[in-house]
């Protein structure tokens, strides 16, 4: 009979852990997108600075 | 001069019924479907020649539940197909009256199907049936139809603008129908399934009445929001 009790509690524990994994995956996706956006912003800032420097050099 | 709401209700209801009477699309399809469904049940569970009297009520209401999906799905079609809905909403007709007219239409369709389906069930599945029992079954239909019609007209509106309307409606409608199936089948069984237990019959009828009241309240509380503004 013990197996059944263990199974029941095991299922609940498993479900909770499953949820943790789901949250983790969502978190990873958010991190990836945030990083992508950060790189995008940094690249655009670099591009904005670039022309200014070459302009000074040309003069 | 805006006509009173009973008159509006009658007008809307008659419009739908007259339209249906002219084309007979919905009712004929529902009738055919119900007969075929009963045959499916017969061949699925009765091929061995067993006595199905005990489950006749169940077969009847399984059939009616599935048939109701057809009728409910068609109840808003006149408005949708002719793009009349916007016009009606602009008109000074209370939305509750509009909903009520749909409830009436579904109720009528179900009644027509039951007039055929109930005797057929008795013929196909009930051995040693008594005509008086059929009257009691009729009362079950009268009460159950109300809850089905109220639930159906509300949910049909939710499915109205969906792309997969024919798929969405059964998915929404049938789970909420389960209590009706349980109670109505039980009620029929209690008087026509080889037994005759009036206390049980009354219990189920009461439940069906409560069901209709509760969903009536739900519909009353939410009807205004069902329609786009």
């Amino acid at each position: 009979m013990n197996e059944y009790v263990t199974a029941a509690y095991g299922v609940i524990l498993f479900a909770l852990l499953l949820y943790v994994v789901v949250v983790g995956m969502r978190s990873a996706r958010l991190a990836r997108e945030a990083e992508l956006l950060a790189r995008l912003v940094e690249r655009e800032e670099a591009e904005r600075d670039e022309p200014a420097r070459t302009g000074l050099a040309a003069r | 001069m805006t006509p009173s709401w009973p008159r509006q209700l009658r007008a809307l209801l008659l419009k739908d019924l007259r339209l249906e009477l002219r084309t007979r699309d919905t009712v004929v399809a529902m009738l055919l479907f119900s007969v075929v469904a009963m045959m499916i049940f017969q061949f699925a569970v009765g091929s061995r020649g067993d006595d199905l009297t005990d489950v006749a009520g169940g077969i009847l209401w399984a059939t009616l539940a599935l048939t109701a999906v057809l009728g409910v799905g068609r109840s808003w079609v006149p408005e949708r197909e002719q793009r009349v809905l916007d016009g009606i909403l602009v008109a000074p007709i209370p939305r509750l009256v509009l909903l009520a007219s749909k409830v009436g239409a579904i109720y009528a369709y179900l009644l027509v199907v039951e007039v055929i389906a109930v005797p057929l069930t008795a013929l196909f599945f009930i051995r040693n049936g008594q005509a008086a029992d059929l009257l009691l079954v009729g009362v079950v239909c009268l009460v159950a139809n109300l809850g089905i019609a109220v639930l159906g007209s509300l949910l049909a509106c939710l499915a109205l603008f969906a792309r997969a309307r024919e798929l969405l409606l059964p998915v929404l409608f049938l789970p909420s129908m389960l209590p009706v199936v349980i109670a109505a089948a039980g009620a029929v069984h209690s008087v026509a399934g080889g037994t005759n237990d009036l206390a049980e019959y009354r219990g189920y009828l009461l439940f069906l009445g409560v069901y209709a009241v509760i969903f009536g309240l739900v519909a009353y509380a939410t009807y205004d929001h069902v329609f786009d503004d």
Binding site: E33, V41 | L172, P175, S176, G186, I214
Partner: protein, 234 residues
């Protein structure tokens, strides 16, 4: 009221989470090492502590979803729709657990993995269908209509829950007039106390998950806003 740089949700989540974790640990300890074993069912009865707690919380989640649905219909604030949706999701997940643990309990008690005679178990199967349909409905519409239809259905579905329960129970009562076994109705206090602890722990789990989901959605929305801005500027 600005919630964009508000650190309170995170703090609330931390508090709720820690308290819930502690209660869960306490509850498991109590159920297995302190609560007396049931005279009739033996150790199988231990399943009931969490099975019932999860069932109650699932119903609570659906109730909150319905209430938030009504509130959405009243003021059309999308936050109510968001909470309503999350609650239905939690309720649905918990309902799956109820059916699984109920099935395990049925196998342990009666030898079969499934019975149609227990109104609670059957009700939760119906509940699964009802609220799975909620998500089908949601995916069929967008924007304002999605929120509005979901709100209406959350109310209708919740009305179906007691109706489903009583239809099964009424049907059963005609076959078995005896009031069926209300495990938990006459419980010694030593057991009841741990039931309550378990119940509160499960409510804590519900609140923790709810807050966690809200925070995640907030993050998702914020990122989407930034993305939209950058794409527009590019």
């Amino acid at each position: 009221m600005s919630s964009t740089t508000d650190a309170r949700p995170a703090r609330r989540l931390a508090v709720t989470g820690v308290v819930t974790g502690a209660l869960l640990a306490l509850s498991v300890y109590g159920v297995f090492f302190v609560a007396p074993e049931d005279a009739d069912q033996g150790i199988i009865q231990k399943i009931f502590y969490f099975h019932v707690a999860i069932a109650m919380v699932a119903l609570l989640a659906f109730l909150v979803a319905a209430i938030e649905g009504i509130r959405y219909l009243r003021d059309r604030d999308p936050r109510h729709d968001e909470v309503s949706c999350i609650c239905v999701g939690i309720g649905l997940a918990f309902s799956v657990l109820v059916v699984i643990t109920g099935s395990i309990w049925a196998k342990a008690s009666w030898g079969t993995w499934w019975v149609w005679t227990d109104p609670r178990l059957v009700t939760f199967v119906i509940v699964l269908l009802l609220y799975a349909a909620y998500f089908v409905l949601r995916s069929s519409a967008d924007g304002e209509r999605q929120a509005r239809y979901s709100a209406i259905y959350s109310v209708a579905a919740f009305a179906s829950v007691p109706l489903s329960f009583y239809s099964v129970r009424v049907a059963r009562s005609f076959v078995h007039p005896v009031v069926f076994n209300q495990d938990g109705a006459n419980m010694p206090d030593s057991m009841l106390a741990w039931f309550v602890v378990g119940q509160i722990a499960m409510i804590g789990v519900f609140l923790t998950i709810l807050q966690l989901e809200l925070i995640q959605r907030r993050a998702d929305r914020a990122l989407r806003r930034v993305k939209a801005r950058l794409e527009a500027a590019a």
